[in-house]
């Protein structure tokens, strides 16, 4: 078990110190491109030999960003701006900012004008992304991003490099999916906090580096005997699930994450880039195939609730913990239908309001403890 713990400890070190990682890359002379939520085509960055760095807020206090946002905005957006304003993102060679929700729209503008020193790349993802004209539009906007990245990198991004980057990312996604399954099967070896660190650290490493470590870990987990862990498996849903206090409370109550529908975790790794002679087109096709996410319009309207139920059943979770990012419209608007689907299937759930400024976890502790009681009686 020591070797598994060693690797997990390395992942935790990386996940807890993004700033060190960033400075490390910069010192090595690498160009780092900050990637805001959601669905940034990181393969383009990687193909330009630059480092894609996930920037999904941070735990902290919002202060400078108050000059741009009233209180009722999600902390991820506000903290991203806060970090930009307080120099924490200094050294980035660029940021890529999508606009898939009503907070990202003003965030993109505010960030662009408030942090003018960091070259700004905008992503106008289409919601009608499956039909041919939609795929074409994705190709067009990804093409624009590619050009801007080339200008920053100082050289062209060849199709060969892009194809190779796609391979790297497909392998990375596959490795992470395997880890999610194995961690769900072996809660005795991987605590909720450790699981989160493995996934979160992928934001702060090149995918090549990350995959090497994940593969190593996966092998060791696969070698374990069948688990006889006696706790309760749950399913998580939300935007972020990386708060160490909350994860610790899950562990305290003998709850383990069997699988997740979390934007920063599994939502980003469900879909691989398909094979296509034109790698840019392949990336556009991949975006077209992303689904089951409240942020993305799905013309097959009822797919998502059905998909989530299927996920829950196949990982043998007994209940669902929804980590509702405060002020997140898309998640809030999806909730009633998710709730209905869960109730129809008699799958218990709780919903905990979270944000990155949380300091008091008493209510969350009470809810999770009570939920564990409810699940153990079921």
């Amino acid at each position: 078990m020591t070797t598994i713990k060693e690797i997990l400890s390395r992942f935790q070190e990386i996940a807890s110190n993004p700033d060190n990682r960033l400075q490390g890359y910069i010192k090595d002379g690498k160009k780092v491109i900050g990637c805001f939520p959601y669905y940034v085509p990181e393969e383009l960055v990687s193909a330009a030999d630059m480092v894609p760095f996930g920037i999904w807020g941070a735990e902290g206090t919002i202060s400078a960003a108050k000059e741009y946002f009233a209180a009722f905005y999600c902390t991820i957006a506000q903290m991203n701006l806060e970090m930009g304003l307080t120099g924490k993102l200094k050294g980035l060679s660029g940021v890529i900012v999508p606009s898939l929700c009503d907070t990202l729209r003003p965030l993109s503008q505010n960030f662009r004008v408030a942090v003018p020193d960091i070259p700004f790349i905008f992503v106008a993802h289409p919601q009608n992304r499956k039909k041919e004209f939609g795929v074409q539009y994705t190709v067009d906007i990804y093409g624009k991003i590619k050009k801007q990245l080339e200008a920053i990198a100082g050289h062209k991004i060849t199709d060969e490099k892009l194809t190779a980057a796609i391979d790297v990312y497909n392998q990375s996604r596959a490795a992470r999916r395997t880890f999610v399954r194995l961690a769900g099967e072996h809660p005795e070896a991987v605590t909720p906090a450790e699981r989160s660190a493995v996934l979160k650290s992928s934001f702060f490493m090149t995918k090549q580096e990350h995959t090497v470590m994940v593969n190593e870990l996966n092998e060791l987990l696969m070698a374990l005997p069948n688990s006889d862990w006696q706790g309760i498996r749950i399913f998580t849903s939300g935007i972020l699930a990386d708060n160490k206090n909350l994860l610790g409370i899950l562990e305290e109550n003998n709850l383990a994450v069997a699988a997740d529908d979390v934007a920063a975790e599994s939502r980003g790794i469900r879909v691989d880039v398909p094979k296509h002679p034109d790698p840019l087109y392949a990336l556009a096709l991949q975006f077209g195939e992303q689904d089951h996410d409240p942020l993305l319009h799905d013309p097959e309207l009822n797919n998502r609730p059905e998909y989530i139920i299927k996920q829950i059943r196949s990982c043998n979770a007994k209940g669902v913990v929804i980590l509702m990012m405060q002020f997140c419209d898309p998640e809030e608007m999806e909730y009633p239908d998710l709730k209905k689907a869960l109730e129809q299937e008699a799958i218990p759930h709780i919903i905990i309001g979270v944000d990155q400024q949380m300091r008091d976890f008493a209510q969350a502790r009470t809810q999770i403890q009570a939920f564990a009681d409810v699940l153990s009686m079921a």
Partner: protein
């Protein structure tokens, strides 16, 4: 042929909107499919195919103005919708789920026309209704534009969707697309837009021949009926009335016009009178409203039409939004800006702090904000609002005397 007694424009305008709802009810009775549409979905398409459509945003505003907003919002919250969600959406979702709204009833939808140029919330809102009713959702996606011009690829994307939407609506209406009828409809909507903009432009006169708050009411027509010739006629009549008022030196603003302001944001429908009173008492007329001219869709061909629909207040980049507002502030000679920080509208309220700074710097006038909500009365405080208006008044006084700096 002249009528003996000319109908007042505001009556014509009200009748146009009543007609929209009536036609929807009649169509429903006849067994025809009736649609619900986003306010900035290209209305020309449904109109060309003879489909009757009504507008949940207009309904929500009317319900809120008649004091049904809280009840409907609470009903939505009881269904599990967070009170953080846009109040228009909450009201509409409650109604779609079967809550009665005697304040402004509307036939339930058979299809949905969703366009997200004004916000992303639209998409989730309409998806929820489509699921509730198990009906088709026609999605016209207009992504946010970070640039001042609309790019070629964006026009291409919209054109692709335009033809796709036509196909979907042909199936729903069981009618074929008629290009000639489309041209006629576009002529109407352009005429309406021009007449609307013309009417709004009378705010530039000092004193203004109209109370700016009137435009909030007249806006319903340009939201719900811009493709109808009656609407164009009504706005042209309105413009004529203003023209006459300028000549006669009269105004629908019956108070002193000590100061002129731009009102930024959607009005707080449940408390319009409360918004109006302190302004009236201090002689502050609203001579520029951003929300209203946002509906001036003028275009000569399909490409221009696609570009026109790219221009909603929440879909243009910061610089364009500022330019637009500073333009009407200058043209309409405002002395100050009153900003509604609308709890229901995250995209809009998200730009305002930076825009405020630019207004102060570029225009040299005071800017004051207040907290409110377009339709949920629980997010508004009369005491706070009145204090802020008093503050704005005092700043404008100082500014006029040239003593203070803003």
């Amino acid at each position: 042929m002249e009528q003996e007694e000319k109908k007042a424009a505001k009556i014509m305008l009200r009748e146009v909107v009543d007609q929209v709802y009536q036609e929807a009810w009649d169509a429903k009775k006849r067994g025809e499919p009736v649609g619900w549409s986003s306010s900035k979905f290209p209305a020309e398409i449904a109109e060309t195919l003879g489909l009757k459509v009504c507008y949940p945003e207009n309904q929500a505003a009317a319900v809120a103005a008649k004091h049904g907003g809280q009840r409907m919002c609470e009903a939505a919250e009881g269904m599990g919708y967070s009170n953080d969600i846009c109040a228009y959406a909450r009201i509409s979702l409650a109604y779609a789920a079967g809550e009665e709204a005697e304040e402004k009833p509307m036939p339930q939808p058979d299809f949905l026309l969703c366009c997200n140029n004004i916000c992303n919330c639209m998409t989730k809102w309409y998806e929820n209704i489509a699921r509730m009713h198990n009906i088709p959702l026609i999605m016209f996606d207009i992504p946010y534009n970070n640039e001042t011009e609309v790019s070629e690829e964006s026009v291409a994307y919209l054109k692709g969707q335009f033809y796709d939407v036509i196909g979907q609506l042909e199936a729903i209406s069981s009618r074929k697309w008629d290009e000639e009828r489309f041209e006629e409809v576009c002529k109407n909507s352009n005429r309406t837009a021009k007449a609307w903009l013309k009417a709004c432009s009378y705010c530039q006169y000092e004193p203004s021949p109209l109370s700016g708050f009137d435009l909030f009411n007249h806006m319903a027509d340009v939201v719900t009926a811009r493709c109808k010739p009656e609407t164009a006629e009504a706005f042209e009549a309105l413009a004529e009335e203003y023209e006459q008022a300028v000549k006669d030196g009269t105004s629908t603003w019956r108070y002193d016009e000590n100061y002129r302001i731009m009102f930024e944001g959607i009005p707080c429908w449940p408390v319009l009178r409360t918004l109006f009173t302190p302004l009236k008492n201090k002689g502050i007329n609203t001579t520029a409203v951003v929300y209203a001219p946002a509906f001036g869709f003028v275009f000569n061909n399909l490409e221009e039409m696609m570009k026109a629909y790219y221009k909603a207040p929440n879909s243009v980049c910061l610089e364009t939004g500022v330019k637009w507002r500073e333009g009407i502030c200058r043209e309409n000679k405002v002395d100050g800006v009153l900003v509604h920080y609308n709890r229901s509208c995250k995209p809009w309220s998200g730009y305002m702090p930076e825009m405020e700074r630019r207004f102060r710097k570029d225009l040299g006038i005071p800017v004051v904000g207040f907290d409110g909500d377009q339709a949920d009365p629980r997010n508004f405080s009369e005491a706070q609002y009145t204090t802020r208006v008093d503050g704005l008044f005092e700043l404008m006084e100082e500014n006029k005397k040239g003593r203070g700096s803003v």
